[in-house]
Every structure is written in C-alpha cells, then in structure tokens.
Symmetry: C2
Subunit: 407 residues, 2 copies
C-alpha cells in the first residue's frame, strides 16, 4: 500500500494557497446588486462614494432655541420667540432679535448660528405657538449645539471600501446616504461531502465501531454563518467509485468542493484515492490538529480536503477557508483577535502551530477546554475561542499571553 | 406644551426593566423542535443530557499497530501482523503475540490496549493484507495513543445547558450524540416602527430639512442578526392617529413593538403622545447617547421606545434589548467583552454612562471613531466595537484601559 513521503508546509503558506485557489472566483459576473437588507453579511464589491453630505444640512443637536449668536450679549438677553422649527421643516430666515424654538435634528433657520438648550432658557419651556412671547437666554458662541452639514461625511468622500463586510452599521450608513441597493459578491456554492465507513447519520442506529457524523453539521453551520450556499450530500463510504461518482454529479453546480476525512497516511484514504489523476495535492501542514490537508481541483472545480476528525475540520475551516473568503470576498468578517493570559499551562509539539480550544473569561484570561485531541467535540462545544500557539513553542506556563480568535 | 420632569435611571436598572418586560414571553408554548441546522443561532430551551459516551468506544488516535502492551518487552520485539482494522469495523479479539494494523478512529480490538504509531514500526509501512508478515515494534505503555470511551463526555452527563446559543460547535456536539432535532425558543416577532416628519425612505427625493431613514435598516439588520423575526412598517409621520392606527393593526401579530424617535422632551414627540393612556413610561437613562427611553405595554404588547438618532438606536439595542434577549432566550450570543487601551483621550459627562464607538486594533488598543454625537452614522460604520465609559468618569487619557464590546 502507498505511503508517500509527506511534505510539510506552514500554516501561513497553506492559507495563502487556499486564497490563491479561490482567487479566480472573484470575477465581475459574480457581483450582484441586492436590496440593503438582503446584503446583510455579504462583502461589498465596489467602493461607495457619499452622494451627499451627512448631515445633509446644519441642524440642532438639542431641543432649544435657535439664535443669531451676535444678538445675545454676555449676561444674556430677552428675545422675541419666533415660529417653532420642527424636525423635517425648511424654516424661513430667523429675524434678527428673535429666537426660534427648535427640535433635535431640525434644520437651523438661515441666519441662526447657535442653539441654546431649553434647560438654559427662562422660562425653561416652549411657549404655545402663535401666542406672542419672549424668552430670556444666555449668550452662546457660534456653532453652539449645531451639527454642521457634512460633519460626519462629505459628499464625494469614500464612504465604504470594496471588501467591507456589510453589517448593520454599514447598511445603516448606506441607507443614510439614500441607497436602496448595493453591489456585493454572490455567495459561493460549496459541495460538502463527509466520508468514512465509520460515520453514520445522526438518528440511525449506531453499530459497534461506528460514530455519528458531526462533521457535516459542524461545517455546514460554520459555512452558512460565513455566508456560503451549501449543498450537502449524504455520507460517502470508503468506496472510491461512489465518491468520484458523487463529485461528478455536482461539479457543474458548485464553486468549491470540501471533503472531510480520507486525506492522511492510512491504508484506506478514500479522498486521496478518488482524487488520483486530478490536480489535487495531499500533504501535511505544520498544524495540530488539522495537519493532513488536500488542495487542488477536481474536473476544474477547486477542492479542499479536510481531515476527518471534527475538531480538525473546524480548525481547518477557521484557519484556512474562512480567512481566505473574507480576504477575497469581504465576507465573512474576520474573527475578533485578542490577547489573553492562559489560565493554565499547555504543551505543544514545537514543530507545529497548535490550535487549542478555550473559553475567554471576563477577567481577560483564557481557560483551556479539553486537551489537544482532535476528537474532543464536547470540549469544542464549550469553547468560545481558538488559542494560537505558534510553531517553535513547546510549552507555555499559566499566565503566558497568547493570541486568541473569538468564535 | 408638556414638559414632564425627567427621572433618571441607571443603565443596569433599565437593562433589568427590559429583561422583566420580556420575561413573560418565555413560556412553554414558545418552544419548538427544529432540525439541527434550522436551529443555528437559536437558544436551547432545555438541558441536553448525553445519551451515549463520546467517543462511543476506545479507538486509535493514530495510524499504527494495535498491540497488547504486555506482549512487547523494553527494547521491542517482532510480532506477527494480524488482519488490519479499518475505521468503522468491529474487530475480533487481538490474538496474543500479534499486532493489528489500525487506522485513526478505528475501534481498538478487544484485548489490545495500546497503539504504536506507524512511524515507529520497522518496516514503517502496512504490509499487504492477507500475506503473512511480521513487524518490529518498540514497547508502549498501556493506553498509548488510545482514546478511551467517554473521554470527551460520558453518557448521562450534561452535554449542553438550557439557554446555550447554538452555534456550529454546539450543533456539532448534538450531531455527534446522535440527535437530529433540538428544542429551541421560537424567534420573537418584532414590529419595528421608525417615526419622524424629518425622515424619508432611501431612494426618494430629499427635500430641505429631511434626512434618509437609516434607523430602520440599522435596527432591522441588527435584529435579524440577533435572530428576531422583524415586521417593518413604513415610516410613521408625526401625526399621532397615524401611529396609533398602525400599531393597532399589528398588535395581534407581534410579541414586541420597537419604535424610534418621538420619546424625548421636545414639543413634537409622537411616540409619547401615541402611548398616552397606555402603560408606557418615558424617562431618561443615565446614558449617552440613547438617554431618552420609553418602556411599557401598548394594548398588552411590550413596547420599547428608542430615541431617534441612529447611533442612539443602535446603542439602545446593544445595551438593553440584545442582552435581555440573550439572557432570556439564549439567543443571540453575548457580545465578546474585552479590555483595551484607549488610543486617544476622551471626555464623558460624568453623570452618565457613555458609549463611544471605536475600532479595536491588532495591538490591543482601541481607536475612537468620531465624537460623542449620536448622528455620526459614518463613524459608526467604521467601528467594530462599543467603548464603555462608566458613570462617574469625566475624562480618560490615552492609554487608559477600557471595557469594549465587540460588534
């Protein structure tokens, strides 16, 4: 039986290979225009320039009185009350010597250049409109409680850059700028194939030697959260013809194939065997878990072969595919990266980049969840972060600072 | 015109009020069973106990040879090669004095208690099955490279607690335990009503004094990401009868009403006026932005009245509604909270909890994006975090450590 000599590549080099594999998918015909809400979580495909100032006009920051600041000397004065300015109105010019009741967000009347908050007025209340009244106001400098036109962003400025992941804040800005649609990258279509004679569908009886397939659920949900359009086949057994037939049936409909299992050095590696004759390379990445990896194309469709253990699958997705998608298509948004102190000691194979699972606690420490084993799916379910232990580190003491990626 | 005396409550007190307002919605008839993938992002409604051990049986952690450890003395020995054990098989008992080729994840043969990795065997390759062969192996202690049954979780242990937000890791665990469905809380149905004579729908012409409605997009996308089922009306004008009519048409179909605008101390506060005669309270929360808040019930339906500026809306959602939902229904997951050093100085009204927007940078500092103004929607779009400046703090220097919530 075969035993090819494994070559080892670094985590960074393999991430770049995955990026290069997918880069040809970033083409103009994969851009679509969507209504803002439908674009939630997608990546912006082109820069957006502000078509107008925000705010579009000078407006009041407070409920109060709009004045000409020069009308009020130090020590204050009494002014006649003009017609009130509600939000949404286009007020007439403010007559000199008058003060207009103005609401938060309402347009400053031409001529007015400052707002005195209602709390500083005597009386500290708005008079009934239409009844002649005066108000005593303190002096206020020009621009007091005025939001200038364009003080948030000016027409012609870059509002959002291509590649931005569109969350609520970004979509809110597009709406504020008057847009109803936005150009985004189409969701990639992924064929997800889990393999292995040992895995059976959840819900079916579990014979001796078998385990339930958690990879399909783990990866499909991760991929959906990352904005991918996932086609999931049933579990492929370790018969090579079954897997190749299954892949061939779907190649025309998908942009990417992701398999799990069958990529390492054992005697029964169905994915390696099915990819024989295709431009797919199998090797070890200097990473634990998730070392054995496959990458290439099957009938022209990009393929990633992840290893078979559930934690290895998740780590492969988080370390390689997810960052490549974010980098190329602006979606998903990168995982928040932070530094935390280890709550306990750990050891790591010094020739590999280790990825441990842990929980970041409110005090800024991170607690290891379970050991290094790639089968520890319960420990994974109780983690909220991946702990990065770079190549070259064999041990870390409790209290050591590590980089963590929040899941 | 009215000017009620504002009472001020703390951020914590108002968050608790919002929680109490929604707590009656956590009833048994709001629990549903969903297929695992459909439950992504939902909150678990009941504890889940593991129905089986994980792993379900002792299995090999490596590709290698399964042995009886007592068969191999210090210094190693030559053993006859038994039939190989592929993953998924239920192997026969290992005859004394033999070594069975075993694949990662394959069941340990009865009698075998250790695995020697293939790399340590001489020759370091699996022989062709069926052809008599021997292999020289070093000694190995009992349990060497063996994953014990139940070493991740044991049957009868608590696998997931009620209130857990179901992400990929948690759904993966449920699949590994053989589940196909899970009990979760039904998504709450929210009526989202933006108000104001000054706001117009994006895409329509912008008259003087008007602004585009960004609140609807900002909040609807935030609510969708948080797993809510959102019904969005058009913009309600400042005519009170229009708003009350609109609310009445939807009360039977929704669990919660969220309005924006019309809750502060101005002369034209449509939400306050529409809620007159209903059990809705309006007051100030000691928070900037997002101080003016309304809370209560309208025809028996819980109501939250958020203020009208976009940043105030987002901050209200993130500080009050989102945490209450997570706490009561397990969804959405809490925002990651971390501590970061301010890249620059800030000032804050000392009597209020200030929430600033910023970008957490890879070096662990957080940069302020824009000023304190609640209209700064472009600055918000360039932020990835909310910076929490507690009540009682009037100024912070650059380098000061602050709590930030990752968006």
């Amino acid at each position: 039986m075969h035993r090819t000599q494994a070559r080892h590549v670094s985590v960074e080099a393999h991430r770049e290979s995955v990026r290069q594999l997918l880069a040809p998918l970033r083409t103009a015909d994969r851009i679509e225009r969507l209504p803002l809400l439908a674009a939630l979580g997608r990546g912006l495909a082109a820069d957006v320039v502000a078509p107008l100032d925000l705010p579009p006009f000078a407006n009041s920051q407070m409920d109060g009185f709009a004045i000409r600041s020069a009308d009020v000397p130090d020590g204050g004065t009494e002014l006649r009350v003009a017609a009130p300015v509600p939000a949404g109105a286009a007020p007439p010019e403010l007559a000199p010597g008058t003060a207009a009741p103005i609401m938060t967000g309402a347009m400053m009347p031409p001529g007015a250049d400052a707002v005195v908050p209602i709390e500083q007025a005597v009386p500290a209340a708005f008079p009934v409109p239409g009844v002649p009244a005066t108000v005593r106001l303190p002096a206020a400098p020009p621009r007091n409680f005025v939001r200038d036109a364009g003080s948030d962003i000016r027409a012609g400025e870059l509002a959002l850059t291509a590649g931005t992941c569109l969350g609520p804040g970004q979509l809110g800005l597009l709406a504020a700028l008057g847009f109803t649609e936005v150009s985004v990258y189409r969701a990639l279509r992924v064929l997800l194939v889990t393999t292995g004679d040992e895995v059976v569908e959840p819900g079916s009886p579990l014979a001796a030697g078998k385990i339930y397939d958690s990879n399909a659920t783990l990866l499909e949900s991760s991929m959906r959260q990352a904005g991918l359009d996932v086609t999931r086949t049933g579990i492929a057994t370790d018969r090579v013809e079954e897997l190749t037939g299954l892949l061939r049936r779907h190649t025309a409909e998908v942009d990417l194939i992701v398999t799990t299992g069958g990529v390492s050095q054992g005697a029964y590696e169905v994915v390696r065997q099915a990819m024989a004759g295709h431009a797919v390379d199998f090797f070890g990445v200097a990473m634990q878990p998730g070392g054995p990896q496959g990458i290439g194309t099957f009938d022209g469709v990009p393929v990633l072969g992840f290893p078979g253990n559930p934690v290895s699958c998740l780590v492969s997705f988080e370390m390689f595919l997810r960052p490549a998608l974010g980098d190329l298509f602006g979606s998903p948004a990168p995982r928040p990266v932070l530094r935390a102190r280890l709550a306990g000691a750990l050891t790591s194979p010094s020739g590999k980049h280790q990825v441990r699972r842990g929980t970041v606690l409110p005090d800024g420490t991170v607690r290891l969840e379970g050991g290094a084993g790639s089968h520890l799916v319960s420990a994974l379910a109780h983690s909220n972060a991946l702990i990065q232990v770079p190549e070259g580190i064999a041990a870390l003491a409790g209290g050591a600072e590590v980089e963590v990626w929040m899941l």
